[in-house]
Subunit: 234 residues, 2 copies
Amino acid sequence: MAKDAASSTAGRPRLSGAPAGSPRQEIIREATALFVAKGYAETTMSEIARSAGLRQSSLYYWFARKEHILQALLEENRGSLALAAALEVRPGPAGARLYAVLHADAMQLCSAPLDFYEFERVARSQPQNFGAFFDDYAALHRLTASIVRQGVEAGEFQAADPEDAATAALGLNEGLQRHYRQPLPGLRSYTAEQVSGLSADTTLARLLVMQADLADIRADAAALTAAWNPTAES
Amino acid sequence: MAKDAASSTAGRPRLSGAPAGSPRQEIIREATALFVAKGYAETTMSEIARSAGLRQSSLYYWFARKEHILQALLEENRGSLALAAALEVRPGPAGARLYAVLHADAMQLCSAPLDFYEFERVARSQPQNFGAFFDDYAALHRLTASIVRQGVEAGEFQAADPEDAATAALGLNEGLQRHYRQPLPGLRSYTAEQVSGLSADTTLARLLVMQADLADIRADAAALTAAWNPTAES
DNA sequence: ATGCCATTTCGATAAGTTATGGAAAGTCTC
DNA sequence: GAGACTTTCCATAACTTATCGAAATGGCAT
């Protein structure tokens, strides 16, 4: 039951050559590529097996269900939550901190291997395995609302319900990541950076008392993110 | 090849009683109920057949593919586009017109039998059958952007790129309908009316030069919608 | 009446999906 | 070498969408 040896030589050999590295990581790598290309539901276990160099049924030795591959994939992607936690308690204007959090979250949604809604769909069907997904989302929402509240209380933001504002801000991120991932025919298509900027700009423009501050806030947010990023693990 | 008789008596009789009305409509009705309850992907043709009172394979006489049921379902739901077309050319302040369009679109997304993203997913896999879906979306986007442009040119809205603003506004609608449909654990849950208000409020708050006008705009938008609604077919 | 045709349904079945169980084929330890 | 452990394979169950041809009815022309 070890199941994570780097390149163990034990066990029945594969018909098609030995695995390059850790079979588990290899499977996740190949599955991710396929998910990105075709989406989760449209990718079959047979295809993943073929890409990873083993038989379909052998996959079930490493992942008892297809959802478990997605789960493993999700656990490698936790970024914007840590930034939000760091910025929520940081002193200084709320505007730049909120902008940084929203922008980072949107960037992460865009660059994640899977559509947010595909994650959510699977998470909802496997609540016992994906509790962390919902916990993370609730935490991000709480931190976002907290920053909004700080801004309102400081008079920096207009009067607004912090929870509603956070819901709208995150909902906008989610709605717009879709437009980045799957541009609708007939509409302008966006880069991840453009989508993230549009989303954060829109939310801040709605909240700020002094609209003219937006340009400065963008720069400050970039500085905050940059200052935090290099020491991502500490 | 008629295939839409009200309650035709021809053909081999069913094992379980005769159909109540038009078989096609009956199938759509039962399928809709199942889609609402379980989602499109999780509903099988066998279940639809059982609900509609015929065998699984008989379904394929009325709908050659599962997607065609969804397509038929979609064609019965076209509301907010007509309102947008009517309001785009109407004189008067842009704020109330934009609010009315966004609110009506959000309400429609919330009350539609299926999640917007499920529609989109299927539409993307069957572009030849769902061209109307993308056409409608592009039209709604164009009309929304046009109203925004009118507001900007009249000095009623802040300077903003109309296309970006429309993308953000519709993206927010889509992101928030999800929160109505599938409330995330740990977060406040919303009614359709609350979600629609939150979305339209947010977009207008971001665009308006005079924030204080928002309350009046809400009332004016409701009046516009009410004035237009009773004559929905003319 | 009788025969023929269009309409609608059914049963059988193909091809593909996720998932399970047991046998097989190696390495590792003693 | 014997036995245990690990990993892979094959066979197959149960379920999915979709196709095909046969069967069962009503209506229409003769």
